[in-house]
Structure formats: C-alpha cells, structure tokens
C-alpha cells in the first residue's frame, strides 16, 4: 500500500513536503503506528512521537487522512474505505495549527500553556483529614468523562477557534480539564476558576461546532463540559 507522509527537517528543508512510501502490510489490518514503524525501517530519518502504543499516553496524535486521531489505536480499516486494501493512500500529517518541529512532531507548547492556565490541580483550603476526603459515588461519577483525558491534543488542534486564537481561547482540552476540577466535590476554588473564564475568548470562543467531540480518541465530550461551565457562569452572573 501507499503511504504519504508530511516530511520536514529544519536542518535540511526550507519547506515541508509530502513523501511517498510503499509498505507491505500482507493484507493485515495494522494500526497506523505499525505502518509508521515499517516506514521507519526503510527510512530512519522519519520522526514521530510514540510511547504506550495502546491509546493511553497520548503521544501519537496526528492527522490521519484528514482526521485527527491516535496512530496506535487507529486500524487501517477505520481510516477510510479502501486504505487497508491499498486502493487509497494513507496520508499522515502533523496535528493542524501547531508549529512543526520535524516531520509529524509538533511543538505543543501553546497547548500545554493552555492546560496550565486553568490551574489543573485540586485546590482546597481546608486542612486535610487523616484519611481521604470523603466523596460519594455520585459525586465521583461527575468526574467520569473528564479525568480520562490524555492530553493528546487531537481535540484542540481540530478546533478552528483554537487555530485562529491559540493565545486567547483555551481550547477544548484545557476547558475539559477546567470542568474536571469545577465538578470535583473536593475542590473549593470554584469562584476563582469561573472568574478567570468570564471573558469573550477563554471559554466563549467555543462555537459548538463539535470537531473536538468527533475526534476525541477517548470518546470524551469537551463541548458538553464547556456547556456545563457556561451554565455555571450564567447562574453565577445572573
């Protein structure tokens, strides 16, 4: 089958180019990450990130035939009809909207800064008890669908509002994490957290287009989390 990969090495290239490779899958429905390993055997100079190879570390987010996803848990058969059979090329590009360091590796600095901006850690002013802080199963259930985020950036880099205003809009991933702490019964910094989101950009630049939801490899829903924060802001402001 044919694989077309975005190549750029700052040492030697002025502009990125798409490079074609021929890979023999022996008809197997391999994961995209396996294909990358096969290509790398042919061409050592190809760089990409990878670690757990099972979809939990979030290293290998990339744009696969137009859609962001994790290479390690995207089988060829799910990329697009005809790709596995070799009728259509597999096209791999770096995550959109972030500066490319090399090949499929992007500079995620902006993305991590957004994460840090929401103060992604539990805040509680009361003295800690000798055991755990009690939390009912119902309260804990509110964190489901939030804490599982792996920071792969598939969502944020599929979001046009992120593309246009990465410095001002926090992006779906950071906002999901913001809500993860707003929703935690053990956290008491709600007011402070909300007041930092109440401007026209940080949160409200979300237009509800749901690209984030449609690409999240963990099936999470940042759009809904943003909606919940908006409701909290509304309740607080009116």
């Amino acid at each position: 089958m044919k694989v077309s990969i975005y190549r750029y090495n700052p040492d030697t290239d002025r502009e990125p180019t798409m490079k074609e490779y021929e890979v023999d899958t022996q008809g197997k429905d391999l994961m995209v990450l396996d294909i990358l390993a096969l290509v790398k055997e042919q061409d050592e100079s190809l760089s990409y990130r990878r670690s757990c190879r099972e979809g939990v570390c979030g290293s290998d987010g990339m744009n696969i035939n137009g859609k962001n996803g994790l290479a390690c848990i995207t089988p060829l058969s799910e990329v697009a009809p005809g790709v596995k059979e070799g009728k259509k090329p597999l096209v791999l590009r770096p995550l959109p909207g972030l500066p490319v360091i090399r090949d499929l590796v992007v500079d995620m600095g902006v993305f991590y800064e957004q994460y840090e901006k929401v103060q992604p850690y539990l805040q509680n002013q009361s003295p800690a008890p000798a055991i755990e802080r009690l939390q009912s199963p119902e309260e804990r259930a509110k964190l489901d669908g939030l804490y599982e985020c792996i920071l792969c950036a598939c969502c944020s880099t599929s979001c046009p509002s992120f593309w246009w205003n990465p410095e001002k809009f926090l992006g779906p991933a950071a906002l999901l994490q913001s809500y993860r702490f707003l929703a935690d019964s053990r956290d008491d910094a709600t007011e402070e957290r909300l007041s930092r989101l109440d401007d026209p950009f940080s949160l409200f630049r979300c237009r509800g287009i749901m690209n984030c939801v449609s690409v999240c490899p963990k099936g999470l829903n940042p759009t809904r989390a943003i909606g919940h924060i908006r409701s909290m802001l509304l309740e607080r402001g009116v």
Partner: protein, 124 residues
C-alpha cells in the same frame, strides 16, 4: 528558529464533520445577512414611504431577478434562523453528544432546505 517552523493548516486536507459545516454555514449566512441589511431596510422604507412607493415596490417584485434576490435573502435568513434555534436548543444541553450533534446539524440542513423550497413557492 521558532518563527520559521511551518504549520500544517491546509484546510483542503482536513476533513470537517457535518457539525462543522453547519457551523461555518451559520457564520457565512450571518455575514451575508449583514450585507443584505440595507436591501431589507430599503424595502421596508419603500413599502412605508407612500402608496406610490409601495406600488413601485410591488411592481418591482414581479421581476424574476428581484424575486431571485429576495429568495436568496430569505434563504440566508431561514438558514441562520433554523441554525440559531438549534444553538438555543443546544444551550439547554440537548444534542451535545456526538450523535446528537450530527443529528441536529443534519436536521438543520434538511429543515432549512424544505423551508427554502416553500419560500420559493411562495415568492413565485
């Protein structure tokens, strides 16, 4: 060094789900309506200024070209209206799942298409 780094943002290589198409169409129709505003204001003005101007406007409205323009503006308005209603519904937490979002976006296109056709029938 950092400034020289390329960015992969060639929109033609990126797939957009139906929800994104619904959203950008909402935006495009909104901007277009801003440019249609003087036309609507002018029509309102003519219709109210005097019986003569009212008649003139009515006369003008029989021209197929004008009908087309009015229909186009109506189409923009209908899409923006229906998509806007979907936004309000989603603000209440309905249709925020992946499936719900897709259904809502598809429904917006279908309903608008029907309404635009009806509007066409009404104008002609």
């Amino acid at each position: 060094m950092n400034d020289k780094r390329p960015v992969n943002l060639d929109l033609t290589t990126i797939k957009f789900p139906v929800t994104a198409i619904a959203s950008i169409t909402h935006r495009i129709t909104g901007v277009a309506l801003f440019f249609a505003l003087p036309v609507l204001l002018w029509m309102m003005d003519r219709s109210l200024a005097s019986p003569e101007s009212f008649a003139d406007l009515k006369q003008l409205m029989t021209s197929p070209l004008v009908k087309l323009v009015v229909w186009a503006i109506l189409a923009l308005l209908l899409y923006h209206l229906v998509a806007g209603i979907r936004h309000l519904i989603m603000d209440n937490g309905v249709g925020e799942t992946l499936e719900g979002g897709r259904r809502g976006a598809t429904a917006t296109f279908v309903i608008t298409a029907v309404l635009i056709l009806l509007a066409g029938g009404w104008i002609w």
